[in-house]
Protein backbone atom coordinates (compact mmCIF):
# COMPACT_ATOMS: atom_id res chain seq x y z
CA UNK A 1 0.00 0.00 0.00
CA UNK A 2 1.26 3.45 -0.77
CA UNK A 3 1.83 5.35 2.41
CA UNK A 4 0.93 8.82 3.52
CA UNK A 5 1.60 10.46 6.81
CA UNK A 6 -1.32 12.06 8.60
CA UNK A 7 -0.57 14.34 11.51
CA UNK A 8 -3.01 13.83 14.35
CA UNK A 9 -4.23 16.60 16.64
CA UNK A 10 -6.42 15.80 19.58
CA UNK A 11 -8.71 17.72 21.85
CA UNK A 12 -8.86 16.54 25.40
CA UNK A 13 -12.01 18.40 26.43
CA UNK A 14 -14.55 20.47 24.53
CA UNK A 15 -13.47 24.05 24.23
CA UNK A 16 -9.80 23.32 24.66
CA UNK A 17 -7.28 23.83 21.88
CA UNK A 18 -6.27 20.89 19.70
CA UNK A 19 -2.76 19.75 20.38
CA UNK A 20 -0.44 17.72 18.21
CA UNK A 21 -0.61 14.11 19.38
CA UNK A 22 1.53 12.27 16.85
CA UNK A 23 0.99 10.81 13.42
CA UNK A 24 -0.31 7.75 11.62
CA UNK A 25 0.95 6.26 8.38
CA UNK A 26 -2.03 5.23 6.28
CA UNK A 27 -2.91 4.65 2.62
CA UNK A 28 -5.85 7.08 2.72
CA UNK A 29 -7.94 9.26 5.02
CA UNK A 30 -10.38 6.47 5.89
CA UNK A 31 -7.62 4.20 7.12
CA UNK A 32 -6.05 7.15 8.90
CA UNK A 33 -9.32 7.81 10.70
CA UNK A 34 -9.84 4.21 11.77
CA UNK A 35 -6.30 3.87 13.01
CA UNK A 36 -6.20 7.26 14.72
CA UNK A 37 -9.43 6.44 16.56
CA UNK A 38 -7.75 3.41 18.06
CA UNK A 39 -4.39 5.00 18.75
CA UNK A 40 -5.48 8.35 20.09
CA UNK A 41 -9.01 7.78 21.33
CA UNK A 42 -9.64 4.30 22.60
CA UNK A 43 -8.88 5.17 26.22
CA UNK A 44 -11.27 8.11 26.22
CA UNK A 45 -8.34 10.53 26.13
CA UNK A 46 -9.79 12.61 23.29
CA UNK A 47 -13.18 14.13 22.53
CA UNK A 48 -12.19 15.05 18.97
CA UNK A 49 -9.37 14.51 16.51
CA UNK A 50 -8.08 16.42 13.50
CA UNK A 51 -6.26 14.49 10.81
CA UNK A 52 -4.11 16.54 8.48
CA UNK A 53 -2.16 15.11 5.54
CA UNK A 54 1.44 16.07 6.18
CA UNK A 55 1.82 17.52 2.68
CA UNK A 56 -0.97 19.99 3.50
CA UNK A 57 1.23 21.52 6.15
CA UNK A 58 3.30 24.54 5.16
CA UNK A 59 6.54 24.40 6.94
CA UNK A 60 8.08 27.66 8.19
CA UNK A 61 11.35 27.52 10.00
CA UNK A 62 13.74 30.17 8.70
CA UNK A 63 13.72 33.61 10.25
CA UNK A 64 15.68 36.65 9.11
CA UNK A 65 17.02 38.75 11.93
CA UNK A 66 19.73 40.76 10.22
CA UNK A 67 19.20 43.96 12.20
CA UNK A 68 19.06 44.03 15.91
CA UNK A 69 15.31 43.95 16.50
CA UNK A 70 15.44 42.68 20.00
CA UNK A 71 13.28 45.54 21.21
CA UNK A 72 10.39 43.64 19.56
CA UNK A 73 10.98 40.62 21.71
CA UNK A 74 10.24 40.09 25.36
CA UNK A 75 13.87 39.29 26.05
CA UNK A 76 14.78 42.74 24.70
CA UNK A 77 13.57 44.38 27.86
CA UNK A 78 15.08 44.24 31.25
CA UNK A 79 11.84 43.86 33.15
CA UNK A 80 13.66 43.33 36.41
CA UNK A 81 15.09 46.84 36.67
CA UNK A 82 11.82 48.43 35.62
CA UNK A 83 9.86 46.40 38.13
CA UNK A 84 12.25 47.43 40.90
CA UNK A 85 11.81 51.07 40.02
CA UNK A 86 8.05 50.76 39.92
CA UNK A 87 7.96 49.04 43.30
CA UNK A 88 10.10 51.74 44.85
CA UNK A 89 7.82 54.43 43.45
CA UNK A 90 4.80 52.64 44.83
CA UNK A 91 6.39 52.30 48.26
CA UNK A 92 7.31 55.98 48.31
CA UNK A 93 3.78 56.95 47.34
CA UNK A 94 2.29 54.78 50.08
CA UNK A 95 4.71 56.08 52.72
CA UNK A 96 3.97 59.66 51.72
Amino acid sequence: MSENVFEVFRQERRGQPFEHAGSVVAPDADFAEAWAREQYGRRGESVALWLVPREAIRDVEDWADEFDLKYRRVDGYSIKARLKEARERADTARAG
Binding site: M1, V25, D30, F31, A34, W35, E38, Q39
Partner: protein, 208 residues
Amino acid sequence: MNEQTLLELADDELILGWRESEWTGIAPMLEEDVAFSSIAQNEIGHARAAYQLLVGEDGDADALAFDRKLEEYRCAPLVELRLMDWAHTIARRWLYETADEIRIAALKDDPDAGGLAAKIDREEAYHRMHAEMWNTRLKDEPRYRKAVADLWPYALGLLSPELRPTLIARVGLPEVDAIERGSHTGELAELWDEMTMVRRSAPAGSQW
Protein backbone atom coordinates in the same frame (compact mmCIF):
# COMPACT_ATOMS: atom_id res chain seq x y z
CA MET B 1 -34.73 -13.88 26.96
CA ASN B 2 -33.35 -16.24 24.36
CA GLU B 3 -30.45 -17.56 26.44
CA GLN B 4 -29.18 -19.86 23.74
CA THR B 5 -28.77 -17.00 21.26
CA LEU B 6 -27.01 -14.89 23.85
CA LEU B 7 -24.65 -17.72 24.77
CA GLU B 8 -23.81 -18.27 21.10
CA LEU B 9 -23.04 -14.58 20.74
CA ALA B 10 -20.89 -14.54 23.87
CA ASP B 11 -18.92 -17.62 22.83
CA ASP B 12 -18.41 -16.24 19.31
CA GLU B 13 -17.09 -12.95 20.68
CA LEU B 14 -14.82 -14.64 23.22
CA ILE B 15 -13.25 -17.05 20.77
CA LEU B 16 -12.94 -14.49 17.98
CA GLY B 17 -11.42 -11.99 20.40
CA TRP B 18 -8.94 -14.66 21.43
CA ARG B 19 -8.09 -15.60 17.85
CA GLU B 20 -7.69 -12.02 16.71
CA SER B 21 -5.46 -11.26 19.69
CA GLU B 22 -3.06 -13.75 18.15
CA TRP B 23 -2.20 -11.03 15.63
CA THR B 24 -0.93 -8.68 18.33
CA GLY B 25 2.63 -7.78 17.49
CA ILE B 26 2.64 -9.46 14.09
CA ALA B 27 -0.05 -7.67 12.06
CA PRO B 28 1.24 -6.41 8.69
CA MET B 29 1.25 -2.72 9.70
CA LEU B 30 1.99 -1.13 13.03
CA GLU B 31 -1.13 1.03 12.98
CA GLU B 32 -3.31 -1.93 12.06
CA ASP B 33 -1.70 -3.97 14.80
CA VAL B 34 -2.89 -1.46 17.40
CA ALA B 35 -6.36 -1.17 15.86
CA PHE B 36 -6.82 -4.90 15.42
CA SER B 37 -5.74 -5.69 18.96
CA SER B 38 -8.05 -3.02 20.30
CA ILE B 39 -10.99 -4.50 18.38
CA ALA B 40 -10.11 -7.97 19.66
CA GLN B 41 -10.17 -6.63 23.20
CA ASN B 42 -13.57 -5.02 22.60
CA GLU B 43 -14.98 -8.36 21.42
CA ILE B 44 -13.85 -10.01 24.63
CA GLY B 45 -15.49 -7.15 26.53
CA HIS B 46 -18.77 -7.87 24.73
CA ALA B 47 -18.43 -11.55 25.63
CA ARG B 48 -17.91 -10.63 29.26
CA ALA B 49 -21.01 -8.44 29.36
CA ALA B 50 -23.11 -11.16 27.73
CA TYR B 51 -21.87 -13.86 30.14
CA GLN B 52 -22.64 -11.54 33.06
CA LEU B 53 -26.17 -11.02 31.79
CA LEU B 54 -26.60 -14.78 31.51
CA VAL B 55 -25.39 -15.57 35.03
CA GLY B 56 -27.10 -12.58 36.66
CA GLU B 57 -25.63 -9.62 38.48
CA ASP B 58 -24.06 -11.65 41.29
CA GLY B 59 -23.15 -14.62 39.14
CA ASP B 60 -19.65 -15.66 38.10
CA ALA B 61 -19.11 -14.71 34.46
CA ASP B 62 -15.62 -16.24 34.48
CA ALA B 63 -17.02 -19.60 35.48
CA LEU B 64 -19.40 -19.56 32.53
CA ALA B 65 -16.64 -18.40 30.20
CA PHE B 66 -13.93 -20.84 31.26
CA ASP B 67 -15.28 -23.72 33.31
CA ARG B 68 -17.28 -25.49 30.64
CA LYS B 69 -16.31 -28.62 28.78
CA LEU B 70 -15.14 -28.18 25.22
CA GLU B 71 -18.33 -29.62 23.75
CA GLU B 72 -20.47 -27.20 25.74
CA TYR B 73 -19.13 -24.17 23.90
CA ARG B 74 -21.61 -22.86 21.36
CA CYS B 75 -19.29 -20.82 19.14
CA ALA B 76 -19.49 -21.16 15.37
CA PRO B 77 -16.63 -22.84 13.50
CA LEU B 78 -15.87 -19.52 11.71
CA VAL B 79 -14.39 -17.96 14.83
CA GLU B 80 -12.31 -21.01 15.73
CA LEU B 81 -10.06 -20.99 12.66
CA ARG B 82 -6.52 -20.18 13.64
CA LEU B 83 -3.78 -17.91 12.25
CA MET B 84 -5.04 -17.68 8.75
CA ASP B 85 -3.25 -15.38 6.31
CA TRP B 86 -4.16 -11.70 6.37
CA ALA B 87 -6.61 -11.99 3.46
CA HIS B 88 -8.61 -14.64 5.31
CA THR B 89 -8.31 -12.77 8.59
CA ILE B 90 -9.79 -9.62 7.08
CA ALA B 91 -12.38 -11.63 5.16
CA ARG B 92 -13.49 -13.20 8.45
CA ARG B 93 -13.54 -9.82 10.18
CA TRP B 94 -15.77 -8.37 7.46
CA LEU B 95 -18.08 -11.38 7.21
CA TYR B 96 -18.33 -11.59 10.99
CA GLU B 97 -19.21 -7.92 11.44
CA THR B 98 -21.76 -8.04 8.64
CA ALA B 99 -23.46 -11.08 10.18
CA ASP B 100 -23.10 -9.76 13.73
CA GLU B 101 -24.96 -6.57 12.86
CA ILE B 102 -27.92 -8.61 11.64
CA ARG B 103 -28.03 -10.78 14.74
CA ILE B 104 -27.63 -7.85 17.14
CA ALA B 105 -30.43 -5.97 15.36
CA ALA B 106 -32.65 -9.01 15.91
CA LEU B 107 -31.81 -8.95 19.63
CA LYS B 108 -32.62 -5.27 20.09
CA ASP B 109 -36.29 -5.87 20.90
CA ASP B 110 -35.52 -8.51 23.50
CA PRO B 111 -36.76 -7.21 26.89
CA ASP B 112 -33.70 -8.55 28.72
CA ALA B 113 -30.90 -8.47 26.19
CA GLY B 114 -32.05 -5.44 24.19
CA GLY B 115 -30.13 -2.94 26.30
CA LEU B 116 -26.90 -4.88 26.00
CA ALA B 117 -27.46 -5.38 22.26
CA ALA B 118 -27.80 -1.63 21.76
CA LYS B 119 -24.67 -1.01 23.80
CA ILE B 120 -22.66 -3.58 21.87
CA ASP B 121 -23.93 -2.17 18.60
CA ARG B 122 -22.64 1.32 19.39
CA GLU B 123 -19.14 -0.12 19.63
CA GLU B 124 -19.58 -2.50 16.72
CA ALA B 125 -20.33 0.53 14.55
CA TYR B 126 -16.61 1.34 14.65
CA HIS B 127 -15.68 -2.27 14.02
CA ARG B 128 -17.91 -2.22 10.96
CA MET B 129 -16.32 1.00 9.78
CA HIS B 130 -12.92 -0.65 10.08
CA ALA B 131 -14.06 -3.84 8.34
CA GLU B 132 -15.86 -1.98 5.53
CA MET B 133 -12.80 0.12 4.91
CA TRP B 134 -10.69 -3.00 4.41
CA ASN B 135 -13.38 -4.68 2.33
CA THR B 136 -13.69 -1.67 0.05
CA ARG B 137 -9.98 -1.59 -0.45
CA LEU B 138 -9.45 -5.31 -1.05
CA LYS B 139 -12.69 -6.39 -2.74
CA ASP B 140 -11.15 -6.63 -6.19
CA GLU B 141 -8.02 -8.46 -5.07
CA PRO B 142 -8.20 -12.11 -6.17
CA ARG B 143 -6.64 -13.37 -2.94
CA TYR B 144 -9.22 -11.55 -0.84
CA ARG B 145 -12.12 -12.67 -3.01
CA LYS B 146 -10.98 -16.24 -2.66
CA ALA B 147 -10.74 -15.80 1.11
CA VAL B 148 -14.32 -14.46 1.28
CA ALA B 149 -15.53 -17.36 -0.84
CA ASP B 150 -13.64 -19.87 1.34
CA LEU B 151 -15.23 -18.53 4.52
CA TRP B 152 -18.71 -17.91 3.16
CA PRO B 153 -20.22 -21.27 4.27
CA TYR B 154 -18.76 -20.62 7.73
CA ALA B 155 -20.22 -17.11 7.83
CA LEU B 156 -23.71 -18.40 7.11
CA GLY B 157 -23.34 -20.72 10.09
CA LEU B 158 -23.10 -17.72 12.42
CA LEU B 159 -26.77 -16.90 11.97
CA SER B 160 -29.94 -18.81 12.65
CA PRO B 161 -31.63 -19.89 9.38
CA GLU B 162 -34.26 -17.14 9.39
CA LEU B 163 -31.60 -14.43 9.44
CA ARG B 164 -29.50 -15.89 6.64
CA PRO B 165 -31.40 -14.37 3.68
CA THR B 166 -30.48 -10.90 5.03
CA LEU B 167 -26.80 -11.85 5.10
CA ILE B 168 -26.99 -13.36 1.61
CA ALA B 169 -28.55 -10.14 0.29
CA ARG B 170 -25.93 -7.99 1.99
CA VAL B 171 -22.87 -9.97 0.98
CA GLY B 172 -24.16 -10.79 -2.48
CA LEU B 173 -22.93 -14.38 -2.61
CA PRO B 174 -25.15 -17.33 -3.52
CA GLU B 175 -26.77 -19.49 -0.87
CA VAL B 176 -24.71 -22.55 0.01
CA ASP B 177 -24.84 -25.18 2.74
CA ALA B 178 -23.80 -23.52 5.97
CA ILE B 179 -21.12 -24.92 8.25
CA GLU B 180 -23.29 -25.10 11.32
CA ARG B 181 -22.67 -24.60 15.00
CA GLY B 182 -22.65 -27.64 17.21
CA SER B 183 -19.53 -29.42 16.10
CA HIS B 184 -16.12 -27.92 16.61
CA THR B 185 -13.00 -27.70 14.51
CA GLY B 186 -9.89 -29.44 15.85
CA GLU B 187 -8.42 -26.00 16.35
CA LEU B 188 -10.81 -25.18 19.18
CA ALA B 189 -9.52 -28.05 21.36
CA GLU B 190 -6.07 -26.52 21.43
CA LEU B 191 -7.45 -23.08 22.24
CA TRP B 192 -9.74 -24.47 24.97
CA ASP B 193 -6.77 -26.15 26.57
CA GLU B 194 -4.79 -22.91 26.64
CA MET B 195 -7.68 -20.69 27.63
CA THR B 196 -8.88 -22.80 30.57
CA MET B 197 -5.50 -24.03 31.81
CA VAL B 198 -5.03 -21.55 34.63
CA ARG B 199 -8.49 -22.07 36.09
CA ARG B 200 -8.25 -25.84 35.78
CA SER B 201 -4.91 -25.91 37.58
CA ALA B 202 -6.03 -23.72 40.47
CA PRO B 203 -7.00 -25.46 43.71
CA ALA B 204 -10.72 -25.55 44.43
CA GLY B 205 -11.93 -22.43 46.19
CA SER B 206 -9.23 -20.15 44.79
CA GLN B 207 -10.21 -16.51 44.72
CA TRP B 208 -9.21 -14.27 41.81
